[in-house]
Symmetry: C2
Subunit: 224 residues, 2 copies
DNA sequence: TTTGTTTCTTGATGCCGGTCAAGTTTTTAT
DNA sequence: ATAAAAACTTGACCGGCATCAAGAAACAAA
C-alpha cells in the first residue's frame, strides 16, 4: 500500500461511499495531498474558492471574522469532513478562514474535476446535498441558540451533546477555551467561571487535562 | 388566483429555470396548490418533512423556538423562494415553523416526485445545490453577526443592506418590529430605541408607515 | 531541570440590552 | 364612524456577561 497508497483520502469520505474500489482509484488519482502543521493556514477569506477539501487526518477549525475583528468558530473539521462545497457551483470567494489545530492532512479536488465527477457518478451530488442539509440544520440550531439562549445554557448543552455523541460520560475538551469561547459566542473567562460554577453545584467534575466528567446531564439540560 | 393552470408556480422558481415550457408543464401537473391567510401555519416543527414548498406569492416567515421558548426568525420567504429542501434526501422531520405574514400562495411537490424530477433533469440538482450554498453562506454570516456584533451594529447593517439590495435610499420595513427583533436576536423595545437614536444623530429619518430613509449609509456601517 | 510562553483562573468594574410597565399610536373590526 | 385589539414607544430598573488586570497553572523549548 505505497504507490498503492490508494483510497486513503477518498475512502474516508461519506460523499464517495457508494463508489466501487476502481472508481475510488480514479478519484484518488486526481486529488492533491497537503499537510499542515498546527497553526498553519488552510485557506483565508477572499481566497478563490476553487477546490473541495477533504480532511483525511487531524483537525482544523473554520471561522469567520466579524467587522469588529472578533472571531466566530463555525465548524470543527474532523477526519472525513469536507469543506468548500458551499460555492463549488458558483465562482465565489471564501468567506471564512481555515486553520489546522493539530498536524492535519488534506486532500483537495479542483472544482472542474469535482463537477466532472458529479456528472459521472450522480450518487455524489445526492451525498453532497445530504452534507449541505446536515450543515444547514446544524447552523440553524447554532444561530437560534446563540441568539436566544444564555451562555450558561449553551455551554451546558455543548457539554451534554458532546458527551452524548461520543457515548461517554467523561471526555477531554477538543478545543482550547479560547476556541470553545468563539464557538459558543462568549469569552474564555466566562467559560472558566461557568465550568467552575457547574462543578460547585455538582453537575460536572473537572479533572486535569481538560477532562470534563458529566455528573447530571438531565439537570444540565434544564439550565436556562 | 390560478385561473388557468399554467406554470404559474414553477416558472417563478430559479431551480427550474433551465427547463423548457413542456417540461414545466409536466412539473406543474404534479404540484399541489395551497393558499394561506396571514397568521396561518404552513408547517410546524416535528412535521414530517415530505414536501418541497414553493412560494408563488406572498410572504412567510420561517422560525425556530429555543428551549426557553424564545423565537428566532431564520428566513423570510418571498415569491420564488423554496423551503423544505434541507431534508428532502433523508427522512427527517422539520425543525422550524412556517407562518404566512400576508395572504400567501404555495405550491408543494412530494419528495418522491421531486427525486424523480432530479433524476430526469440533472440541472435541478445543481440548482438546488446553489440554493443550499447561498443559504449556508447567509446563515454563516448571520451566526457570526449575532454572536459577535452589537445589536446596534446588526440593525445598522440590516438597514443598509436592505436599502442596498432594493437599490433605494428609503424603504418600508418588511417586517413588524417583533419579527425584525427575532431576526436580529433582540427585542422590539431595543429596535425602537436604536432607531430613535439613529434618527437623533441624523443617520436615518423615520416616516409614517414604517418607512426608513437612510441618510448616511457609510456612517451606519461604521457602527460597532 | 530552568526559563519563557501560552493558557487558564479569579477578581473588580461597568455597560449593553433585556424585562416590566404604562402610555401612545396604528391597525382592524364592527 | 367608533370601539377594540394589536403594535409601537418611552421610561425605570437591573442582571448577565464582556472587559481589564493580575496571578496561577500548564506547556514548550533549550
Amino acid at each position: 500500500m505505497s504507490a498503492h497508497a490508494t483510497h486513503e483520502c477518498v475512502q474516508l469520505v461519506p460523499i464517495f461511499q457508494e463508489l466501487a474500489a476502481d472508481q475510488l482509484d480514479t478519484i484518488e488519482s486526481i486529488v492533491q495531498h497537503h499537510h499542515y502543521l498546527p497553526g498553519e493556514t488552510l485557506f483565508n477569506a477572499d481566497d478563490p474558492l476553487d477546490t473541495l477539501m477533504i480532511v483525511s487526518g487531524g483537525q482544523a477549525k473554520v471561522y469567520q471574522l466579524a467587522a469588529n475583528g472578533r472571531e466566530q468558530l463555525l465548524y470543527l473539521l474532523q477526519t472525513g469532513d469536507i469543506d468548500g462545497e458551499a460555492a463549488l457551483f458558483e465562482n465565489k470567494r471564501r468567506t471564512s478562514y481555515g486553520e489546522a489545530l493539530v498536524p492535519t492532512d488534506v486532500c483537495s479536488i479542483r472544482r472542474e474535476d469535482f463537477q466532472t465527477l458529479m456528472q459521472k457518478y450522480p450518487s455524489i451530488s445526492i451525498n453532497v446535498l445530504n452534507v449541505f442539509g446536515k450543515r444547514l440544520t446544524q447552523l440553524e440550531r447554532q444561530t437560534t441558540s446563540t441568539a436566544t439562549e444564555s451562555v450558561e445554557a449553551r455551554l451546558a448543552n455543548y457539554l451534554t451533546e458532546t458527551a452524548a455523541s461520543l457515548k461517554v460520560t467523561a471526555f477531554k475538551l477538543p478545543l482550547k477555551k479560547k476556541d470553545l469561547a468563539t464557538f459558543l459566542g462568549t469569552t474564555p473567562e466566562t467559560i472558566s467561571r461557568k465550568l467552575t460554577r457547574f462543578e460547585q453545584v455538582g453537575l460536572i467534575t473537572q479533572k486535569p487535562g481538560k477532562i470534563i466528567q458529566i455528573n447530571d446531564a438531565d439537570q444540565l439540560l434544564l439550565i436556562e
